[in-house]
């Protein structure tokens, strides 16, 4: 039950609010974050059926600004960010020269020459450093504003109506008209926020970027406005089960320096069409040509027991893969898992076993995502 740390975990500006709400805390990416406030299953269900409020202030934020910003990002990241329109967001990865994934991240284009890059909490310093290093020779400024920026997310089918209760009539049109993976500046409960229609839950929802100083006021306003619409605060436990049902990878589990985007099924977000020679390009071209040995698949448990990270995947008693994330799916009612499996055994319907502490249990390969909402 104990975790060894050499440094004290960091606290978000909302730490005190979580404590007041009776949160259980956990160390995640060097941050002391709420794991759950009550039952993680109730928090999961609230997001699927109404709404959940998450503190994601541990995530990083890196500003990339200057005349060369777009071409710079096209050399630093694997995706084609230069073709993205202002006001849009894009999911991408940053790779090393070997094509290994340093992090997966979301990039928002705020202006022709202005981007906001959002890496994972634990990777933020590494990503900021890599971007700064790769910026040499470009007319661009890279600024790590992670320490000054808070992020809260409202996720779930009632998220939009909750926000509409806190914005002006003019901003209401911006909120309702906002497409998935888009962002704009609006005023929520009197606080200027960067509002993005993005998330990590498989539901409709928003992420709100604010300066640290505004975090508590915004959090309280959202909790209050949402209380009549089924919103409850939700911790990282439910965030993990929600993203797993939605088939979304978690850095450190599905994505590592040892995995390439092709292994992880992220081939489509790697752009070989763009002109720029991005970091990892030649390695990734070779990897694409040879094809991955193992691929990320979804597994559905046929029994009641769940596979967990690092459990072996078996075929006829032989190890053919490894689970990267797994747990009982609260929404679906059966165990689900993401696993890297030998390519020959990745077809949907393939029968496999997962070694549950010495007892092989039957699973089968299924399509991803495990869960998708009715749109």
């Amino acid at each position: 039950m104990s975790t060894e740390t050499t440094t004290m975990p960091k606290q978000t500006p909302l730490h005190g609010e979580h404590a007041i709400l009776g949160a259980n805390f956990t160390d995640f990416g060097g941050w002391d974050m709420p794991l759950k406030y009550g039952s993680e299953l109730a928090e999961h269900q609230a997001v699927r059926e109404a709404a959940g409020l998450f503190d994601l202030s541990h995530m990083g934020e890196v500003r990339v600004e200057g005349p060369d910003a777009a071409t710079f990002l096209n050399t630093a990241l694997a995706g084609n960010l230069a073709v993205m329109k202002v006001g849009k967001a894009k999911y991408s990865v940053i790779c090393n020269a070997e094509g290994g994934i340093i992090d997966d991240l979301i990039t928002y284009r705020r202006a022709e020459d202005r981007f906001l890059v959002v890496p994972n909490a634990g990777n933020a310093p590494v990503v900021a450093a890599a971007l700064a290093e790769r910026a040499a020779g470009f007319d661009v400024t890279v600024t790590d504003v992670s320490a000054d920026t808070a992020l809260v997310a409202v996720q779930g089918p009632t998220a939009e109506s909750i926000l509409l209760g806190l914005v002006s009539a003019e901003d209401a049109g911006t909120v309702t008209g906002m497409k998935y993976y888009a962002a704009d500046e609006v005023t929520v409960a009197g606080i200027d926020v960067l509002l993005a229609r993005t998330g990590y839950t498989g539901e409709d929802g928003f992420e709100l970027y604010i300066p640290n100083a505004d975090a508590v006021a915004l959090w309280k306003a959202l909790l209050e406005a949402g209380s009549g619409r089924g919103l409850i605060p939700a911790g990282l436990a439910s965030r993990d089960s929600l993203r797993l049902e939605a088939g979304m990878p978690l850095y450190g589990n599905e994505l590592t320096l040892e995995t390439t985007p092709f292994d992880a099924g992220l081939g489509p977000i790697v752009s070989f069409k763009k002109e720029e020679d991005f970091v990892g390009r030649s390695a990734l071209e070779a990897k694409k040509a040879e094809g991955p040995a193992r691929k990320l698949v979804g597994l559905k448990g046929l029994g009641r027991r769940a596979g967990r990270s690092h459990y072996a995947v078996l075929k006829d008693g032989n190890v053919v893969g490894e689970v990267t994330s797994g747990q009982p799916s609260p929404t679906l009612g059966y165990p689900i898992a993401l696993a890297y499996v030998d390519v020959a055994l990745t077809e949907v319907g393939t029968a496999l076993d997962v070694d549950l502490r010495g007892k092989p249990q039957p699973f089968e390969v299924v399509d991803l995502p495990f869960y998708s909402r009715n749109k």
Partner: protein, 126 residues
């Protein structure tokens, strides 16, 4: 804070026994709270022998799997089928309807008083 009942005795591994014959065994609220929502319990079979301090099953929550240790040595008499079918009882009522199994005790393991267990694990004795 998690509740620790003054009427029970406890193993260091977070099981309780009520001392009746056969004795009822369950997990503490301290353990249930730490585990999170329990979704599966794997219990020893009725008629099998369990040994104090050794693992005799597993408790699986949404986030993790923990070994279940026998607090006493003896023969398992009865399993709580209700808890097997509805493991959420371990969270809702760990000292009541969430009990796990009963044991005909041949020898007790090292057991703690409620006060000692609570002070070692941060619970409130009631």
């Amino acid at each position: 804070m998690s509740k620790v009942l003054s009427t029970l005795r406890y193993s260091a591994e977070h099981e309780w026994v009520d001392g009746s014959t056969p004795t009822k065994v369950g997990i503490t609220q301290v353990a249930a709270d730490a585990l999170g929502d329990v979704v599966y319990v794997d219990l020893p079979e009725a008629g099998s022998t369990v040994t104090a301090g050794e693992t005799c099953g597993e408790v699986e929550s949404t986030k993790s799997v923990s070994d279940l240790y026998a607090p006493v040595t003896g023969t398992v008499v009865e399993l709580n089928q209700e808890a097997i079918d509805n493991p959420a009882l371990l969270n809702e009522d760990p000292y009541g309807t969430g009990w796990l199994f009963t044991v005909e005790v041949s020898e007790e393991g090292p057991l703690l008083s409620a006060a000692d267990y609570a002070s070692a694990n941060g619970g409130d004795v009631e």
